[in-house]
Symmetry: C2
Subunit: 150 residues, 2 copies
């Protein structure tokens, strides 16, 4: 099996990332891979913030996965730093090959490096497979995730 | 009814904030109001990050509420900026007086000012009253919230 390299995303990775975001039952309805303008603007906002880590997983020169890790400092839990994992995607051709586990394991290790003692994420209630996946990795489904669209 | 003022927290507010974090069935087990050192250190980390907004609600010179609003840029959903609300607390004496609604309403308005089109939060599965409160404010409980303690 060839080596997987997880590294910070660059502007050149945007179209590959958006393709993965869109190639998903929920993402298909809310992404616009034919117009990358809003993604380029968002990338610039992200790139300025040292507490945001958008990464890609590369194998044999191909982008096969992505996630965003956000570092949140805060007062609660005795000043605990927590991280939030968002926008986890694995390319369709690579699913089932353990890449999701490698990505989340990287995020957990990076969280430790960032001084975090809590990692959190939310997953759409319809993603039953994802829930089982996160539980296998030790995550506890202790919370209800609320969203308000503005 | 006297005027409520929601403003950025300062170092001088830390003890009042920690008292509110600790005065809660879950918070009582995980906060250390007798030793503020970790909270001061966390405040400094927070204060450096322009995408973190720790605020207090003040009425008649007294701190009666707090929350933290985090602004997260990202690529998904066509480059949507989202905000995350964490660590919402209202002082025991003030509960039931609509202050929680005022705090969350402020957070929603501030999210709009920050260019966000999605506001999200997680609430412990045991906090049934909080869940009804967020639903009344228009939040949808569409997600499962996972946590991993490191």
């Amino acid at each position: 099996m060839s080596t997987l390299h997880i590294r910070p995303a660059t502007r050149g990775d945007i179209s590959a990332i958006v393709a993965m975001l869109a190639d998903d039952p929920l993402g298909a309805q809310r992404e616009s891979p034919d117009d990358l303008t809003p993604y380029h603007q968002a990338f610039d906002r992200l790139d300025e913030d040292k507490n945001q880590h958008l990464v890609v997983a590369e194998r044999d020169g191909e982008i096969v996965g992505t996630l965003q890790l956000s570092v949140l400092h805060g007062l609660s839990r005795q000043g605990t730093t927590r991280t939030i994992i968002e926008a986890v995607r694995v390319s369709a051709a690579t699913r089932g090959g353990g890449l999701g586990t490698q990505l989340i394991t990287w995020a957990i290790e990076e969280s430790r490096r960032q001084g975090a003692s809590l990692v959190q994420l939310t997953s759409d209630a319809t993603r039953g497979d994802a829930h089982r996946f996160y539980k296998r990795l030790g995550f506890v489904d202790s919370h209800v995730g609320f969203k308000l669209t503005l």
